[in-house]
């Protein structure tokens, strides 16, 4: 196991940031931690990289305890904090060279590992980091986190605030890095990124709601349907919600995603919908995405 998180609790003053968080990440796995801001992702990551001490529970990284053996942990991890934290007044190559030296290595020694990422920003290597665009900053930060060839890469919300194109590129790069045998733990508030991970943990208010393989979902006992309409689905939202059979209904892109109280209700709903005088309505049974699952779990909580 690359990472072993063992019943961790952590509080700040009166707020319980993490409650009995417990999971494992296998060697070479790309593991996602998905949840909104304030769910406790950064706190958990800071415990994992030995920057915070849990109130109870333990955490080991490649077998090293993050509290008692923190010096060993710090040698084998590459960490990218949630906030862009490179030196704005140093150039791209100066930042990279600095972090290489901090870890007692050189840019040259590990150039092959960072090549794919770094080549994209290399044309701007003389530019100060503060003048880079969001996507480029991210690539630089990733290069710096990789420069010492860590065993485990810990990335705290690397794609937050970054546009869809850069996000897609970023995930492609992570896949390649995973191919080099590096274990990756990454957090994100974007549910659609879940499918890029081998497994994801869904976290909300300091609690892990579920750990799942994003591609193997579906055998869910809550029936999920999608409603589409050329007239726009928003007009149907209130009506659907008023149905007795409806457990929940939410906007979902150009669809409504509707969960019902039981499988038997489906036909009743179909006949009701037919009375709405919208021939363009399409009603189909679908397998839930990670986001559907997440929304279901949050509602159960409430």
């Amino acid at each position: 196991m690359s990472l072993n998180v063992n019943h961790i609790d952590k509080s700040f003053d009166l707020t319980r940031a993490l409650k009995q968080v417990d999971f494992e990440v296998k060697d070479g796995e790309l593991f996602g931690l998905i949840g909104p801001d304030g769910a406790g992702k950064s706190t958990l990551f800071r415990i994992m990289v030995s920057l915070l001490i849990p109130d109870s529970g333990s955490c080991t990284m490649n077998g090293y305890d993050v509290v008692s053996q923190y010096r060993d942990v710090r040698k084998i991890i590459g960490y990218m904090p949630g906030r862009f934290s490179l030196y704005m007044d140093l150039s791209v190559e100066e930042n990279l060279a600095f972090y290489a030296r901090v870890f007692g290595t050189t840019v040259k020694a590990n150039y092959d590992l960072i090549k794919d990422v770094y080549q994209q920003i290399e044309p701007f290597k003389k530019r100060l980091a503060g003048r880079l665009s969001g996507g480029m900053k991210q690539k630089l930060a990733l290069s710096c986190a990789l420069i010492h060839r860590p065993d485990v890469l810990i990335l705290d919300e690397p794609t937050t605030g970054v546009d869809a194109v850069s996000r897609r590129e970023f995930w492609d790069m992570l896949k390649k890095i995973q191919g080099e045998g590096i274990t990756i733990v990454v957090s994100t508030p974007y549910m659609d990124e879940a499918e890029m991970c081998d497994r994801v943990a869904l976290i909300q208010k300091g609690t892990i709601l579920d750990i799942t393989n994003p591609l193997e979902m579906g055998d869910d006992d809550v029936p999920l349907f999608a409603l589409r309409s050329d007239r726009g689905v928003y007009t149907h939202l209130d009506k659907i919600r008023k149905l007795e059979e409806c457990r929940s209904a939410w906007l979902f892109g150009d669809e409504l995603h509707v969960t019902l109280r039981s499988h038997i209700d489906a036909s009743a709903v179909v006949s009701t919908i037919e009375c709405w005088n919208d021939p363009s309505i399409r009603w189909t049974s679908i397998t839930p995405s990670v986001e559907d699952r997440f929304m279901g779990l949050i509602q159960e909580e409430k």
Partner: protein, 368 residues
């Protein structure tokens, strides 16, 4: 070692890329010493003095001659009424009035005692005190010289409270004080700000999560400022010598060593401040209020320690600058050797060790 030099290099890059840092680092000392220096010398050169000589005898006339030929004072007016004193002050014609009591010489010869009143326009307390001290000095010199033959000394009550040196050149006093102030400012303020900047920008999080040890981080951040502060100290001494003719009477080597000690002390204070401040702003306020002001007010740099109320006198003993000023004055102006300043040096050394210990202890290896 490679790690360390990498860190130092990065730190120099920060410094040389930030115009504001550079201005504070190199502009400030030069501007301050020239400004302070000239303000002081000007005051002392052109003070308007009013004379009320009730006695008009040989001694008083000669004493007046001495005052006016000293180069520090210019005769504004001679007066002979009490009311004229106030009008002189009000019109701004004079800053000080010297009053010789009647039968001045006779009293001296008969009773061995006579009085001179120095009435100063105290609206500017600082320069008033300065002026008084200068006058006292000039008069004391004069009475000493005329009374050399006399067996019983004349009692003309004149006491110098602020200045040690008989030549009474203000800049001399200023250089040690300014050095203590500037080095404290540059070293403590700059280091505390540069460390908290890493916290504020989140880069500290990465440094902490790396294999760097706390002492490597601290040393890496501080080393450039040791060098730069030392250059500053030397600049101040050089400027003092070139512009204001302030010599280094004693050993330059000893002076440099003491400077290094004081710089180390100030830097460790800076590190200590950085461990208790979350933002650059906080670090700045701490350094300004906690270090700058006390250094200016309580070190004896501007206000004589002897004149302070008891509790402030006690406070001044925990001001590193107070001891450093004594050390520098001794080496630069008196030319004394280590034998005379070992006590002060020991105090500084003790303080330094204390601050380093506290700073290292408080410097966290984690985020909380």
């Amino acid at each position: 070692m490679k790690r360390f030099f990498g860190f130092v290099k990065k730190e120099f890059q920060h410094i040389f890329r930030d115009v504001r840092t550079l201005v504070i680092l190199f502009g400030l000392p030069v501007v301050m010493i020239i400004l302070f220096g000239y303000v002081v010398t000007n005051e002392i050169k052109d003070v308007d003095v009013g004379i009320w000589d009730k006695s008009r005898d040989q001694v008083s006339t000669e004493a007046i001659q001495k005052i006016l030929s000293s180069g520090y004072f210019v005769l504004a007016e001679t007066i002979d009424h009490e009311e004229e004193i106030e009008s002189l002050f009000k019109s701004g014609k004079a800053k000080v009035v010297v009053v010789f009591e009647d039968s001045f010489e006779k009293r001296l010869l008969r009773e061995n005692r006579a009085a001179i009143k120095l009435i100063t326009d105290a609206s500017d307390a600082n320069s008033a005190m300065l002026v008084q001290t200068y006058l006292q000095g000039v008069l004391a010199n004069y009475f000493k010289s005329v009374n050399q033959a006399g067996t019983i000394p004349w009692e003309v009550e004149i006491k110098s409270r602020m200045f040690y040196n008989e030549e009474m050149t203000g800049v001399y006093m200023f250089v040690p004080g300014l050095m203590a102030l500037i080095l404290m400012l540059i070293s403590a303020l700059m280091t505390s700000v540069t460390i908290t900047r890493e916290k504020e920008f989140g880069t500290m999080e990465l440094l902490l999560a790396s294999p760097l040890r706390p002492r490597e981080i601290i040393l890496g951040k501080v080393t450039p400022y040791v060098l730069l502060s030392f250059i500053n100290a030397m600049t101040i001494i050089l400027l003092g010598f070139l512009v204001f003719d302030v010599p280094v009477v004693g050993s330059l080597w000893l002076l440099m060593l003491e400077c290094m000690l004081y710089i180390t002390l100030a830097l460790s204070l800076g590190v200590l401040i950085s461990t208790v401040s979350k933002t650059q702003q906080m670090a700045m306020v701490f350094s300004m209020l906690g270090l700058m002001l006390p250094t200016i007010l309580l070190s004896g740099f501007i206000f004589p320690i002897d004149n302070m109320p008891g509790i402030l006198q006690w406070f001044s003993t925990i001001m590193p600058a107070r001891w450093f000023i004594v050390v520098v004055k001794n080496i630069m102006l008196k030319g004394t050797g280590f034998a005379f300043i070992w006590k002060e040096t020991l105090i500084l050394l003790g303080m330094t060790l204390l601050f380093i210990l506290a700073a290292v202890k408080r410097f966290n290896i984690r985020l909380e």
